[in-house]
Symmetry: C2
């Protein structure tokens, strides 16, 4: 596997994670399960979350074995949530590949997701660290809670900044936070180092989701791999919409669209209005603030290759366009 | 709550479990989640699995707190699997009550199931016992694997006794086994006592599922709370069908039905043929053998109230008709 350049200091370990994931997928003795797992783990992307676990373990000497196991679990959990999210969203493809639910049916997708969730928990158990195991379980609760909030509050224009922030913590930043916190804990770092790395990880997780939500409306279909404005189309109110409806004209249109979701012309009109406004800029400013806070949290830590990568990762999150 | 008479020696603790479940359901600060959880935990039945955890802890002095926590987790896991099973099976009701998936939609049911799965794992973490935590995660894998096997092998008449046994272990006996094993472990019992209670629990779990599968075809719709012959109707090959198709005539009819699942007349004909044959008797004999093995496993253990309850529970499993 070709490691993303920022992850160079941990490329060997990240390759071990990749190998462990492939081993897991191929080790099943049930042929149909093996096929499903191989499909699910075939598109692991940049492995950003496990990389975070490996990098945050770089501030205290450790033999690396537990950290690699934890990093593997983190990616497995991420894959499990993608399987269930695609089932809930009835998505046909993800990043150009067919989803488990569309190809094998949503029933199989529900059960496969459960299986991968549980398998990830057994990997965390192998670390033998109760604190990390507990955080991991709480994170699974957060992830499902975030998705449930998104469903429960969809098409509700009354939900503003506070609700948005809580929701993106649950659905995205909690797993980032746990990925970073657990790497630090398992390396044996001091509590203050653990807290610094936890704060950093949570902040970049929040920024990651904000950027995702901005790209959903300012990106191109080719770059983001889904139709532009999908969130609004699905009734999900994100930061760009929250900023956009500060303008009364836009608010009226959004309100109308949320009660008439089949009015695609109105949807296009709103998307164009947002693209032409300063909403994108304001949203990026918001994400930028989070990134600065993330970097600030790293200040007390010693300068080393892992710290340099974490700083670069923070910058990358804000600059990415896919 | 009115305790089932067999569970008398542990009625106080079982009431604590019931309270803990209600507390969990009511503690959510998200109103929609609270409503869902209250519904999901409102029909907990006899609490057989947590009772097993409490009874198997009765062979070594212990303060009971960890065991009650574990017993609560076991029921939460059971409820989580019911939520996902009803989603996968598209069931409208369970035991006369509307299911989460039919009332709130399958999307919400998938996420609620995930949430309860994860919450159960956090309860297990609170026991602080890694061995128990690991077994618990493996059990969640077994449960989803059992359901996946059922889906993958449905309408496949080639799958006989071995496959059936493996599947009912995964979908039912694994959780029984873990319920009993964890009670014994957390009580601090010796390894030989743990193994005896684990074997007992696994065997009654297998017998429980066999009886369930027999009642599906020999019971009445009123008693079992679903149409008679549902398993065959859904293409699931269980012990009664495996015995029934030893008769070439019946095999031919079953083969025909499995490829023509809309032929309800043929379905009724097969169900009547099985009811009129010795298949029910043979299946009960099979379950009876498992119950005898379960009781035998308890032989080395001291005689006490909990042991008496476990022996009575074994007998109850074979004699129940709902």
């Amino acid at each position: 596997m070709q490691t993303f350049s920022i992850f160079e200091p941990i490329s060997d370990q990240l390759n071990q994670v990749d190998d462990r994931l492939k081993e897991f997928a191929e080790s099943s003795d049930l042929p149909s399960l093996k096929e499903l797992l191989t499909h699910a783990f075939d598109s692991t992307g940049k492995l950003a979350r496990p990389a975070l676990t490996l990098l945050t373990a770089g501030f205290h000497p450790n033999n690396g074995a537990k950290v690699v196991t934890m990093a593997t679990a983190v990616e497995m959990l991420h894959v499990a949530t993608l399987i269930h999210d695609d089932t809930v969203d009835e998505a046909d493809t993800r990043r150009g590949r067919v989803t488990v639910s569309s190809n094998w049916g949503r029933h199989t997708a529900v059960l496969l997701g459960d299986y991968v969730f549980a398998a990830s928990a057994t990997y965390v158990c192998a670390t033998g660290n109760i604190r990390v195991i507990k955080r991991f379980s709480e994170t699974i609760m957060d992830l499902s809670r975030g998705q449930m909030q998104e469903t429960a509050n969809s098409r509700n224009i009354q939900h503003g900044m506070d609700e948005y922030f809580e929701r993106i913590y649950f659905k995205t930043a909690s797993l980032f936070s746990t990925s970073g916190e657990s790497g630090a804990i398992l390396s044996g770092a001091s509590e203050s180092t653990v807290q610094s790395l936890k704060t950093y990880s949570e902040k970049i997780g929040l920024a990651f989701q904000v950027v995702d939500d901005v790209l959903d409306i300012t990106g191109t279909q080719q770059a983001i791999g889904k139709p532009v404005g999908s969130d609004l189309f699905n009734g999900v109110i994100t930061l760009p919409t929250i900023y956009a409806i500060e303008d009364p004209d836009c608010r009226e249109k959004v309100e109308l669209f949320l009660t008439n979701p089949s009015n695609t012309e109105l949807h296009s009109e709103i998307v164009d209005a947002i693209k032409g406004s300063d909403v994108g800029e304001k949203s990026y400013k918001f994400a930028d603030q989070l990134i600065e806070e993330a970097k600030l949290a790293l200040k007390p830590l010693e300068d080393n290759d892992c710290k340099k990568s974490l700083l670069d990762l923070a910058d990358f999150i804000i600059s990415r366009n896919t």
